[in-house]
Symmetry: C2
Subunit: 117 residues, 2 copies
């Protein structure tokens, strides 16, 4: 064991954890990996997210440098969201997280264990 808590802070795990742990972060990034999208286009993908919440999440990802916001000065406004270079590099991670999640769900289905009451 070579890690200490300080080293964990220095290494990227903690930064990555903060960025990826938002409720919508991974889902948004997953879609943006396919193509840049406009605000309402993203919102249509997630019926459960409100306008204001999506704005916040996108601003957060923008502040982290994962998402790039491209404003076209038009009326009606057009704002395109895409991934930065470092954001695009999340692709293999998201793919393996999805794959793991699928396996996990299978695993859960098979098991007869229930949560302790």
């Amino acid at each position: 064991m070579n890690y200490t808590n300080e080293i964990l802070e220095e290494c990227g795990l903690t930064s990555a954890q903060k960025i990826l742990s938002g409720k919508w972060s991974m889902r948004i990034i997953l879609f943006l990996l396919e193509k840049p999208m406009r605000f309402n286009e993203i919102q249509r993908l997630f019926p459960d997210i409100t306008h204001a919440t999506l704005t916040k999440q996108l601003r957060l990802l923008e502040d982290y440098g994962i998402v790039v916001r491209n404003v076209h000065s038009q009326i009606p406004p057009k704002v395109e969201y895409s991934l930065s270079d470092i954001g695009k590099k999340l692709k293999p991670i998201l793919n393996s997280v999805m794959a793991w999640g699928d396996e996990y769900k299978e695993y859960q289905k098979d098991s007869t264990t229930f949560k302790h009451s």
Copy 2:
């Protein structure tokens, strides 16, 4: 684009997101990947986590089926935490998350961009 929000729910991304997004989840799993550990042993690794919080986090991971709790009936008590099979399969994910995070930190260091005030 083949995903809809419903498909996202069906696919494993959402489950995985819930499990991995706890503040301490990834860090705990990272250490348990190396070897099973006792409660206090884990706590010593994280000076910032309190007793009660660690208990909660471990119970959560146990409920999710990621962590296995092995109680040895002794005085003083000895409880060993280890990873389940599906938990162990998170190893490549954690490794790539760490690698990405390191790259991200480098990226941040180099860039002269600051957050918009």
